[in-house]
Amino acid sequence: MNTKNKEAHSDVEELLPWHAAGTLSRSDARRVEDTLAHNPELARRYALVREELGETIHLNETLGAPSAHAIEKLFAKIDAEPARKPAVSLNLGARVAEFFASFSPRTLAYAGGAAVLAILMQAGFIAGVMIKETKTTGYETASAPSTDPGIGAFTLIRFAPQATQDDVTKFLAANKLSIASGPMAGGLYKVRVAVTGLPKAELATIVKKLQADKVVTFIATTE
């Protein structure tokens, strides 16, 4: 084995603890794996490293935990701290910026793509609900629900992003609602709650009831 190879093995040997712990980069891990595959002596030493790893975890896990007083002490100290400046706590913009700044550009790009996809999917399935409703409209008597988009009592609703098409369909059916129009800006839908106009108090009661449903993230009355 020449000097260059010896140095390479030494470098790889130094990385064995991190390889065992799984904290190496993909390229370093591959380099270590390749060397281990061709060097039985290093593979034997790697077994020793794995032994140390296991026993270090065992040792630390038997150290116990602090008592429940620890958190009491902490919050007693926090209570004694001067009040926070509102500039830090109430600056929503800064908090949002700080939140997004914590992600890597790649994560942010994936998250942005996923958000766009979610919005498109939601718009798609709600459009599907609307088309389905239109198709099922058959023979109607004079007292049947009006299809005139301008007649009735309405609310503006934004559905939860995680709500499925099935959830929304069930929600609309259970509450005898129909989508009049949308999606509008902000992902809002105009939803008919009654085929005739309703007194404000009655509409407010309906809104309050609908607001409690997990499918709804925002609801307000509208003309």
Partner: protein, 186 residues
């Protein structure tokens, strides 16, 4: 199930959210306690220290820039606090600690049993390492810190982290050899 990331919790803590502080504490206090305990070797001191560590997090959350993992930042604070305590500790206590370490090597019945149980012997030798070596071994094996993260916590270059770990392991093997267990390395 998706959990709130540590980074989001820190943003909330910076805004004075006590619940976020409780969540962060619940998530990390045991590991921070164990890291500190292995350095100061006194349970009461370690317990006092963790409330100080988390109080610092409460105070400095607004300054956290997210350049490293929250757990790495926490261990850096914990290490600084533990070393400050060790510097103030009276010499008698340090002598006692040394004596304990010497006792660890004594060939008492426990040690004899440990010789039969390689795992127990290994754990005993891990405890007998110097604070510097214990620290690097714990950071890499137990706290799962990368070379870069360990370097940040300890405040040394990455190359030094690798060599320190190598020598800590070498010392461990030597201690095991003293206990009659030859690992064939170094």
């Amino acid at each position: 199930m998706q959990t709130t990331s540590d980074e989001v919790l820190i943003v909330r803590i910076a805004g004075g959210d006590r619940l976020a502080m409780q969540v962060l504490f619940a998530r990390h206090h045991v590991r921070v306690y164990r890291f500190v305990l292995r350095l100061v070797r006194n349970e009461a001191t370690a317990e006092d220290l963790i409330s100080d560590v988390f109080l610092d997090i409460w105070r400095q959350a607004g300054k956290f820039e997210g350049r490293s993992q929250v757990s790495t930042w926490m261990l850096s604070i914990a290490r600084f606090k533990a070393l400050s305590v060790l510097r103030k500790r009276p010499e008698e206590e340090l002598d006692e600690e040394t004596a304990e370490r010497i006792e660890d090597h004594a060939d008492d019945p426990e040690t004899t049993l440990a010789k039969k149980d390689k795992g127990a012997a290994l754990r005993q030798c891990l405890s007998a390492l110097s604070a510097e070596h214990r620290e690097i071994i714990d950071l890499v094996y137990y706290h799962e810190k990368s070379v870069e993260e360990a370097a940040e916590i300890v405040g040394i270059p990455e190359a030094t982290v690798k060599t320190r770990m190598f020598y800590a392991r070498k010392k461990l093997s030597e201690l095991l050899k003293e206990q009659g267990i030859d690992r064939g390395w170094p």
